[in-house]
Symmetry: C2
Subunit: 385 residues, 2 copies
Amino acid sequence: MREVAILGIGQVPVGEHWNKRLVELAGDAVFKALEDAELKRVEALYVGNMMAGQLDKQSHLGALISDWVGFRGIEAMTVEAACASGALALRTAMVAVGSGLVSSALAVGVEKMTDTSPRETTAALATAASADWESIHGVTFVGLNALIMRRYMYEYGWKHEDFAQFSINAHANGAKNPNARFQSPITKEIYKKAAMIADPINLMDASPMGDGAAAAIVVPADLIKGQKGKPVIRIAGSAVATDSLAVHDRHDPLWLAAAEKSANEAYRQADITPNDIDFFEIHDAFSIMAALSLEACGFAERGQGPRLALDGEIGPEGKVPLATMGGLKARGHPVGATGMYQIVETVLQLRGEAGPAQIDDVSIGMAQNIGGSGATIITHILKAE
Amino acid sequence: MREVAILGIGQVPVGEHWNKRLVELAGDAVFKALEDAELKRVEALYVGNMMAGQLDKQSHLGALISDWVGFRGIEAMTVEAACASGALALRTAMVAVGSGLVSSALAVGVEKMTDTSPRETTAALATAASADWESIHGVTFVGLNALIMRRYMYEYGWKHEDFAQFSINAHANGAKNPNARFQSPITKEIYKKAAMIADPINLMDASPMGDGAAAAIVVPADLIKGQKGKPVIRIAGSAVATDSLAVHDRHDPLWLAAAEKSANEAYRQADITPNDIDFFEIHDAFSIMAALSLEACGFAERGQGPRLALDGEIGPEGKVPLATMGGLKARGHPVGATGMYQIVETVLQLRGEAGPAQIDDVSIGMAQNIGGSGATIITHILKAE
């Protein structure tokens, strides 16, 4: 495959967009990406989305969005792996361009979650888990993560408040991101006193729903290398790995095997180690997921994820800056769009365009998108060259 | 991209599989494909499915099916473009193998439609149409096709019975296919007296729902060419094109622009003309769709699709044998699986393994999968070499 780079990015603020339809949100992100890339047209469009069939009564988003943005006729499709659908859109665009099939492709992640009742949205989200072994019992995603977190605390001796820093860091970073759903910092006091959702997960451990869309345009890296003033943000690593949907069926419910596998493959492709990563757009849907992801990706020893946070190493100045623009926790988690928000934010950092959220001296960023409770995990490594 | 071929195929009979879950149906097709290919493992798995999130309360099929068939860990995802999802699975597998990303990939289409009430299933199907312009008014897919058929009859002067041969041919062919949902021939009398569903579409114009799964294994063509006794069924052409979801928004509601575009691109890739096609697995979801597809793909003049059928040219001995194993009309239309059934049947014909349904002297077959009322159309051309 030829080398591939990201030429343009676009996003809409995560929020409750009751005045916009799903196709308009996606379109707004696409138009911004086209403007950013100074392109009028692409040859293919890949949509990351999980729940439009259920919540918007609209499948078939590929053709719909292509037509809406003025590209009627081009190749288009939706890709889905629950909450990891966003990163799949980038992955599919990368393979299409890398293979030589097309010379430009748009990846757009979009989800609309606030037009339906929280009960309906929660039920739709539960389709990411095993229908036969998990959701049939009525357990929600928060419930599943609560079981994992409780077991983790028991196994490794952590207290609930030891996870506080993941949330505090995300909100502090989100406060610097005009596209974040929540833009206020929180304190440890707020974390500790937050309402319990599913013990031990409280409101400050859980990422919020939201409507959103984010997009990126992928082209052959050679195309940009010749162009003056165009930053070359190369996709240096990209890997998908899977695991059982049902958590009970894993060899170790406290180990994200698919994160380990996809991260190691992405490191291999990029020819780097975790030490080379300048910042990590982590899938902090719940604080326990942040801890598990850090461990599986080689940033912390098994059971020691919270230690990094407690030691102050996950902030903008730390060893592994996490969720630099708010993460799922503060930017928000519009499920099928999240993976693309992570990519857009990684590109902003690598270009030095992250505004008040900018981290110094970054050239390699990693983004990891997790589907379900770890059954599909996609790792991307981007390099500014 | 390197050349790609189909090494193995598998399918389950289309029917009402109330004793099998969706993952079991998919697994059964996958196991048969693996046995047929004499392979123990593949590196990636792509699932074509439209409605599992809505009807089975189960998204995230890529990881689920990979795990079920014993491939926990491999790259996997779902691809969707409504009723064209099946062919997208093959297309995605082809690009993955063609690009060099993986050296073997499984494409499986699966749908379970009969565990829910017809009302629920019909509502889920309607998400393939435009939610904003079509389904919001309560129009079903049959309704949309009825509007198109009525207009077509008015424009070109055809009577309802002029379409009979599409249905008669499909059922005659389906009678020779042990995997078809309906295996009895019908007469013109039966066609004419069938119950009306949405005037002018009666029961014999419409394809039946069903549960089903079909799979194919894709590998580099070079891999097979060296192996004795292994037929080389090469994917010589593959193209996706799109159109507006809403029929009213097209320049001509009686012209499948996406069929024309994707067929022409597939012809170009395969370096052939429609005259070189030995048989055509057509997307005869409704008899009007068969007529429109024949015209857009260059087999008939505009408005003259039914003429080919009336002249006896669509039967196994005709100029363009259609739906050689029953088509959607008799084999059944388990939506997200249909595109893969078309591929499996094309391979069976090209291998000379179609049993009583076998057509003589075939070396080039075409399969076309249509999503919605023509908004996504995927054309594949397979060559026996």
